[in-house]
Symmetry: C2
Subunit: 268 residues, 2 copies
């Protein structure tokens, strides 16, 4: 993508993200209706839908040739990443949103013919904006993030992995996860994939391993992480599929291969 | 404890906590020496020691009859909670401190003849001050925290429990932890006991379960949580021991008994 086009798109996307974030903060003190989707773990709120509509309308008005790929159904029926596609999660971390009224993010990734050009993750209540443009570095607010530590070792790493993946489950052999949790210095779990990506990019986590995410959970994070020298793949090292549900290992390159080789055994 | 004495003590303790926090923030941008204790998971820093010394000196100067119980060895050799005892963790969440430069807290509990009178937890980098005086409510900054939800049920709860306790370990039967992780709506792990207590008191977590904490990790949190109607016990329901290492279940009373009865089986 042409650098000037990307810059202009970035400025517009950032402005919309900040505007949506402001609207969310305003409404946080009002009661909001909570809808449930397939399970109590899959909450979605009125605000979630409104924010996606806000993006859908704005994108269609200003960039009618672009497509929108999102969770709430106001976007397009995406089969390929041809052309320019906005991959949007209006509220990443809906459980945090509902229970904590913080620790959630707006996540916007913009892809051009499959290439991640722009990543924006906005911690709405903390008012922290993580951004990246392909080849131009990653930023937290207006400060450039440092490249990830090239001396990182697994035993000194803090890994985001939810306790759930240490249970017997359908996706990954739990024995390997147990050895991994014992190997690393510590584990954390924050409940927002977008923020967990942002924290890896920021270097406050060294990796994030999880077994079931959708493209809108990761689209922005992948771009952000790449700009600090990190890497995102499926948990077995295959490239992530930006069109469908995927396992994810997002981390410092120094520990990526070791985790895949020695600790992760996916179930078919 | 007399209410006026408690108030005066509270004001002094809060002022010292804020002063210590300011000093820590100032030094965060300077390089700091990291010492290791018994394991890489048990880091302690120069600043950790300096902050404990700061409390030790101040307490001895102003309250020579009080005792100090802390991790770093500048306090007293405490055998009982007779008299007035300050139970201080200068930096709770040292791993976060070192790796993340945020998500750690100063924790100060003041006990009088074994009764928790004052609890102060200061999220230093986030500049969030949680405080409580016995019988006078709990506060975040200057806003009173609400009583915990009396309708809380376990399946709708968010529980702080580290993935480590889902592994085979010496303290708790992992099968019960697995069932618990499956039962609740979600789990989180933040890496600072004091902050996890504060989040339970704030109602953004519904419980915090862990198998190995020291008195200085919990002394302030116990007071804070009680003021919003929460409860702290050992993981089997026994009273916590404020003089020695302990297991901890700090949570909303509505789910406390159910967790103990149906999910926690301690190993002797």
């Amino acid at each position: 993508m042409d650098k000037q086009i990307r810059q202009s798109l970035f400025e517009q996307a950032s402005a919309w993200v900040k505007e949506a974030g402001g609207r969310i903060r305003e409404r946080m003190n009002q009661p909001f209706a909570i809808d449930t989707k397939s399970s109590p773990n899959d909450l979605v709120t009125e605000i979630d839908k409104d924010v996606e509509k806000f993006f859908a309308k704005n994108i269609r008005d200003k960039y009618p040739e672009h497509q929108l790929f999102g969770e709430e159904g106001f976007g397009d029926d995406i089969k390929t990443l041809d052309g320019t596609v906005w991959i949007v999660d209006p509220i990443d971390g809906t459980m945090n949103f509902v229970h904590q009224k913080r620790n959630f993010a707006i996540s916007v990734g913009i892809y051009n013919n499959g290439i991640g050009e722009i990543g924006i993750i906005y911690d709405v209540m903390g008012d922290q904006l993580y951004t990246a443009k392909k080849g131009e570095g990653a930023y937290k607010n207006n400060e450039q993030l440092h490249p990830l530590n090239k001396e990182q070792t697994l035993d000194k790493s803090i890994l985001a992995v939810n306790a759930f993946w240490a249970l017997k489950n359908r996706r990954v052999a739990e024995e390997g996860i147990h050895r991994l949790v014992e190997k690393v210095r510590g584990t954390r779990s924050f409940g927002s994939a977008a923020l967990e990506f942002a924290y890896v990019a920021e270097g406050i986590l060294d990796g994030y391993l999880t077994m079931s995410l959708m493209p809108w959970d990761i689209a922005a994070g992948v771009v952000l992480l790449e700009e600090v020298g990190g890497i995102t793949t499926q948990a077995d090292g295959q490239p992530v599929n930006m069109l469908d549900k995927t396992t994810v290992l997002a981390c410092n390159k120094q520990i990526h291969q070791e985790i895949i080789r020695d600790y992760v055994e996916l179930k078919v």
